[in-house]
């Protein structure tokens, strides 16, 4: 009896599978072909770069799809040291670590006050922040250069926040991340219940304490999304450092990568270029694979608001 049942189940599964396959007509085949085509288009340029990163200079200038005779791992060593990718990478990490922390702290503070405390001028301040979403950054580029240059003349702290300083770039990143961060977090704080905070206030907690110990933990999902958004946005930023960091040893990763191919000219180390590209892509690939769900929702959440 039991064998009979299991046989029937197995058989019906098989039939179902056959049925499904029968229905997968030419249309379904085309569907898969289309999806596969785009997968190939997405993956192949990246894989090709990885492949070229272990080729020798001659092989890179030979047939595009030839395999390397030996794997040249020394390309990576040269990219790291001589092309200074290691230095640029470290610079990017330092800048983004500080700027995202600052962006989230200041952005959350401003958004919370604007979302929860009605006062005269509240709406005006909010609109001032949000209006920044519509301005093209290129309009501000020239004056921004001089603003940061003048910051360098401020007594005492000037040398740390002028042109060619990481702290200066951090402040600029924070300021330019405010519109989106405030816009999104203010909307998020408005959706949170007020009762918990009020209860804590009755128990004698200060406004500041309510913010840090009650509201911030409650706003976690929103904070995570916007943090991801800001990390990617600031990590990938090219325009602002291009204007504000002109000394090579201060450069961030995007500047370093762009420079290898634009300025290097004839004596460029092409093998190291591919290794450098690989070094820039791989960490993103790893981070993306681990956090892909959060990254996808973090980046698309803002658009759906």
């Amino acid at each position: 009896m039991t064998t009979m049942t299991s046989w029937t189940i197995a058989n019906s599964r098989k039939l179902a599978r056959q049925e499904r396959r029968r229905r997968m007509g030419p249309l379904a085949l085309l569907t898969h072909l289309a999806l596969l085509l785009w997968t190939v288009l997405t993956v192949v340029p990246i894989l090709w770069t990885f492949l070229a990163s272990v080729k020798s200079e001659d092989e890179i200038f030979g047939a595009a799809w030839s395999l390397p005779a030996t794997l040249r791992w020394d390309n990576f060593a040269r990219a790291w040291d001589q092309v200074h990718i290691g230095q640029y990478f470290l610079n990017s990490v330092i800048v983004v670590a500080f700027s995202v922390t600052g962006t989230m702290l200041l952005g959350a503070m401003a958004a919370y006050v604007l979302a929860r405390y009605p006062f005269r001028g509240n709406r005006a301040v909010y609109l001032l922040f949000v209006s920044g979403l519509a301005f093209p950054v290129y309009l501000a580029l020239t004056p921004l250069f001089f603003v940061v240059q003048n910051m360098g003349n401020v007594p005492l702290i000037g040398p740390f926040i002028g042109l060619n300083t990481h702290a200066g770039l951090v402040l600029v990143y924070i300021a330019y991340s405010m519109p989106f961060t405030v816009f999104f977090l203010a909307a998020f704080f408005r959706t949170l219940p007020t009762a918990v905070g009020e209860a804590a206030m009755v128990d004698g907690a200060s406004h500041t304490r309510v913010f840090f110990q009650i509201m911030l933990p409650m706003a976690r999902p929103g904070l995570v999304s916007i943090t991801i958004f800001n990390v990617l946005g600031q990590w990938n930023q090219y325009q602002l450092p291009l204007v504000l960091l002109q000394e090579r040893d201060k450069w961030v990763l995007t500047q370093g990568i762009a420079d290898i191919s634009t300025a290097a000219g004839y004596d460029a180390d092409w093998a190291a270029l591919f290794a450098a590209l690989t070094l820039a892509i791989l960490p993103m690939l790893i981070v993306y694979t681990v956090f892909q769900r959060q990254i996808q929702s973090g980046l698309t959440m803002g658009a759906l608001k």
Binding site: R23, T42, W65, P143, I260, A280, A303
Partner: protein, 303 residues
Amino acid sequence: MFNTYRRGLFITAFLAAPVTLYLVYVISPYIQAFYIATTDWRGVSATPNFIGLDNFVRLFSDGIFWKAVTHNAALLVLLPLFTIVIALFFAFLLNVGSGGRGVAGVPGSKVYRVVFFFPQVLAVTVVAVLFQQVFRPDDSGMLNGPLMALGLSPISFLSDPGIAFWSVLGVMVWQAVGFYVVLFSAGLASIPRDMFEAAAIDGAGRVSLFFRITLPLLWDTVQVAWVYLGILALDVFAIVWVMTDQQGGPDYSTTVMATEIYRNAFEYFRFGYASALGVVMFFFTIGFAILSLRLSRRERIEY
């Protein structure tokens, strides 16, 4: 009374730093830009003189400026068009139109979504350098290698003025599609399944399922996508500056407003002229924003 005081203090303390930073680094440069646009400021040490609208007059008779505007305008139409059509197609296949009778997505749709989205997390500069290599003009190029192996003549993706613009557009679409596949998938997920199933039972094929159900219900998301991609098209800089020959060439065939602003300001040191260009760009962006807000006022389908 004391409570009101404490509340005021709290508000001030929390707003002071963000507002100050924002005023110094964002608002003040924008305001200064409008003033600088009316001067002949050149070079770091020179003193600016007020010249009224002369920069704008010169701008409008500048052939390169018009080339840049034309390219931005072409991107404004073509980038959203291609990206949205391709992304809608894939989002539909992944979520609704699996081919079989039911209304399920293709098997493995999650994997496809993860792969498609990946280019979005790469820096534009990385993508630009990568495709500069992919587009190499000889048989060492990823695309020209196979073409030449087949006996075809190589394509000058970046060195032919007639083709370079399309290469730029292609790379931008390549990078953007995955994001919009995910965005549209999220939109599709919020449409009740029964809607598709009811239509399918009533005999709707995949084509009418797409045009009669999917597209109307996703229309809001499509409009959001259009605005985002439009702004991306107006703001494009790094892909042109890093990937193309002569940073916007060959022969200005790929140049855009942002690259001309940067070139004028930081290579020719024509600060006034660059700012005037920036002001024009500002009005284009605002104009586009207002236009898209106007056009998107449309009755929402409730479900």
